[in-house]
């Protein structure tokens, strides 16, 4: 079967006009109706979470992957609907713990649950949240509005989640502190709600990093009709990720392409990085090339997208 992206493009995109004002041609993570901005993400047992994950962590993942989509557009979440398709792992205690944790996150991010549906599957658990928030007074920040000369910024640190999944699957050995840190970064996204005002006021284009830094940079560049030049050495790494790369430089690939970071990649004028845990990693350029200047590997240029490694 073709990749998710190809299927979406081929059969779902024709359901809307490219310049449709509600769906934005399904080209971004959000839709717009009146003064509300909508997004939805589904997480599936066996793909995005596993039966041995704690229900508390799964609830937080569900909320936060959705919150992340809105924040990256400069929109504060406000409301949601929950579709809870309970598989065979679910029992009453599981639901109790899941709902307790879900409620904690609804309070943390100030989200009102306005509706939902509960069904049973005969197999895996599937969880969807449809989330929306009020449109800020300025326009929302699409992925399609980067211009040559923009600085490229990222929040937080990159690659921890992908490394965390490797640690969890015993494909990577690290010390105990790093192990806990990386696994936590994988299990529980930390969307950058504290940056919503900066994105909203300062960004030109913005996207959350869910498919990997390079993939999402490419998504942003393709949508904006621009290229990019980034420096690997400027990409913010945690102490844990830096230690992994120092031991094995091939792990750079995992960090660049791993996904599930839920940090924000955005473009804008100079001077944003001074505070707020934001780093400038490069520049938007004319053309369509994405170049990575890299001290450890050879410099390289990306023309076509990477496949998801960890999806």
């Amino acid at each position: 079967m073709k990749s998710e992206f190809e299927i979406v493009k081929k059969y779902i995109k024709p359901l809307v006009d490219d310049n449709d004002k509600y769906s934005i041609g399904l080209s971004d993570d959000v839709g717009i109706v009146d003064n509300l901005i909508f997004s939805t993400d589904t997480i599936v047992e066996g793909i995005h979470f596993f039966s041995n994950n704690k229900p508390e962590d799964i609830a937080k993942k569900l909320v936060r992957v959705n919150v992340s989509d809105l924040i990256a557009k400069g929109v504060r979440p406000g409301f949601c609907l929950l579709n809870f398709s309970a598989g065979s792992i679910i029992n009453e205690r599981w639901i109790k713990n899941f709902m307790y944790s879900l409620n904690e996150d609804f309070k943390k991010y100030k989200i009102n649950l306005v509706g939902g549906d509960t069904v049973q599957t005969k197999g895996k658990t599937v969880l969807s949240l449809c989330i929306f928030g009020k449109n800020p007074k300025s326009n929302i920040k699409l992925r399609s509005s980067a211009v040559p000369g923009d600085n490229i910024y990222v929040s937080g640190t990159i690659g921890d989640s992908a490394l965390g999944l490797m640690v969890l699957n015993n494909k990577l050995q690290v010390n105990k502190n790093f192990k806990e840190f990386l696994i936590d970064r994988y299990l529980i996204p930390k969307p950058r709600i504290e940056l919503v005002n900066i994105i909203n006021k300062k960004a030109n284009a913005s996207i959350d990093i869910s498919d990997g830094l390079i993939q999402d940079l490419q998504n942003l560049c393709l949508s904006s009709g621009v290229g990019a030049k980034i420096n690997f050495t400027d990409i913010p790494l945690s102490a844990a990720a830096r230690s992994v790369v120092n031991k094995n430089s091939k792990m750079i690939e995992v960090i660049l392409n791993g996904g599930d970071d839920y940090e924000i990649l955005f473009t804008g004028p100079k001077g944003i990085e001074a505070k707020n845990n934001i780093r400038m990693i490069g520049k938007i350029t004319k053309g369509s090339k994405i170049s990575i200047l890299d001290l450890k590997l050879k410099n390289r240029t990306i023309k076509n997208g990477f496949n998801h490694i960890f999806k």
Copy 2:
């Protein structure tokens, strides 16, 4: 495991206040934010549809069970987000046919797709639609606003879908014409979009019949704090359903409790039944009893809910 209703009540309802204006305490099928009315329903392979159903029919079922929720509130659908969790039955041809049919229904009901998510499961297919429409100028019609003295109305005919499922599963034999009619009623709901203005202008309380006439009448009565007295002989039956009942009066139970009718059950003043394929089946009463006056079986009174038979 406890029933869906009990789980929802016990663990999801505490996530909102009973008098919360957005969720209406999760007591109805809809939520309200600003001028928009929201609903969401999920259909699952192996429960609500089967791997040998045509993707075209599954798409229509997905749209229509959701449309039905809004119509019953007197709200015209306008927008939706799709969560498409593709299981192992899905191939490119399936998706092509599904999306073609989905698009037909989006046009039929004038629904704009504004967003969605596509993921793969490792098992069953799970499909969610989050649907919303603009609030009519009058208030939306909740299930909680029936008053003693109201007439009780239903649209269309009752029980066909439940009988259709029995025919499909070789648990009921009927002639060829009836067979096609009943199976079609099960596979492809026909939500009563033509009644949205009447519901909106005339109804006091309203609910769509998805869990069975008696169950949904009871849901309406419980929410409104009223009872009801209905006459089985006034319940509109198709020629097919009438033929089934004439041969075996026990099938009355299937018709009353079967579910998946996607007709509208509503209450209001006299005189609505004169047109539009609507029938008056009884009266809202004081108290909490639901009495069914029945020529074939004994009269009976319902105090506690029925379990879903076909869900």
